[in-house]
Symmetry: none
Subunit: 195 residues, 2 copies
Amino acid sequence: MTGISKEVLSEEQFDQLLRFFQVFSNESRLKIIGHLANGEKNVGELAGLLRVKEPTVSHHLAEMKAIGLVNVRAEGTMRIYRLNSRALEAMSKDIFAHSNLAALVKTSELSEDEKVLRTWVKDGRIIDLPAQEKKKQVIIHWLADRIPHDRRWTEREFSEWLTQFNEDYATLRRYLVDSGYMTREKGIYWRTLKA
Amino acid sequence: MTGISKEVLSEEQFDQLLRFFQVFSNESRLKIIGHLANGEKNVGELAGLLRVKEPTVSHHLAEMKAIGLVNVRAEGTMRIYRLNSRALEAMSKDIFAHSNLAALVKTSELSEDEKVLRTWVKDGRIIDLPAQEKKKQVIIHWLADRIPHDRRWTEREFSEWLTQFNEDYATLRRYLVDSGYMTREKGIYWRTLKA
DNA sequence: GCGTTATTTCGATACATTTCTAATTAGTAT
DNA sequence: ATACTAATTAGAAATGTATCGAAATAACGC
C-alpha cells in the first residue's frame, strides 16, 4: 500500500486505450493505415500492396472498422475503404497528449514524495516527522488523505484516531490544522478541502 | 501514382514504431505503467497488484527496460522499478508529432521495388540503369508501365519519346524489346502484353 | 436464370506471446 | 556455512493472433 496513489484512468478508459494500442501494434494494420492515408482503396488493392490474401485484409479492416478507424462504401461489387483521419487524429491526440499519458507522466513525478514516505512511514505508521519543512508537508499530506471528509470529531476522538499513526497525536493535530487540512470550531474538528 | 515518395519513415523507424505500440498493447504492461506512474515499485508488489506471478512481471519489466521505459535500482534483495517518465514523454511526443504521423502514412508504400525506384529514378527520369539484373527489371517494368498500349511507333518516334526518361534511348529500347514489353516488326514498335 | 468478380465468413493451421512451475542466482542475516 | 527472501532464468503449457484455403454471399452483366 503505497499511499498517494490515485486512480488515473477509469476501467473504461483503460480498455479503450488497450484496444487502441492493439490495433496499431500489428504490422499489416499499420501498413493499411499508411496506404489508406494516401487515398481510399478496396480490399483487393490492399491485398496486393501488402502481399497477403484478401481474407486477411478483410479481417484486419473489420477490426479497424469496429473502432471507427475506417469507413466503407460499396461500389459495384467492391468495397472501398477510407481512413477516418479525423478519428485517427482524435484518437492520438486524446489518448496520448491529453487525458491519459500526460496524466500518467504527471503523476509519476510524485515519486520524489514516495521516497520521503518510504523513509518516514513504515507499515502505516509515521515513524517520526522530518525536520525539513518540505518533507514534513509530504507526510502531513499523506496523513490528511486518510482522514474521512464526512466526519466530525471531538478533540478527544480525533486525537485517539491519530494515535494509530503516531503516539504524538498533539503534534500531528497541530500540523494538520496549521496546514489547513483540518478546521476546528467550538471544539469540533473536521476535514477541510485543500488539494 | 508515381510510387516514388519523398519524405518517408525508414524501415527502422517503422519497426521502432511497431515495437513501441507492441509494448503498450498488452494488458499487464499497460497496468504496470499505470502502477509505476503512481510511484516506484518492486517486482513482488507489482505481481500482487496485477495478480500474476513474479516471473511474469519480471519478464514484462525486462522488455520495458530494454526500450528504456523503466529503470531499476537494487535495494537489498529487491529490485525497485521506476517509470522513466521523460522517456515516455519523449516517445509519445515523437510518435505523434504531426510530421511523423504523416511520414508513417507514406512509409508503408515502400515495397522492395519502390526502394529500387527511389534510388534509380528521380523526377520521372531514369538516372542510370542498375547493373544487377533484378533491379534492372524493376526499372524496365516501371518504364513499360508508362508506354501506352494503343499506340504504334516508328523507331524514330519511339526513340525520341524514350529520351524523356534517359538520353541513352538505344539501351532502354533494347531492354524493353528483350524483356518482351515491346515488339518490333518491319520497323514498327508496339507495346505488348506481359504481366 | 447463369456465370463472373470482389468480398466476407468459416474453420484449420501455424506462429507468437503470455503465463506458469521449477530451478537458479543474488543478497542478508543467523 | 546455512537458511531465508526476492528476483531472474529456462522451459513447458496455455492462450492468443495472423494467415490462409475453401465455401458462402452479394452485386453485376448477360
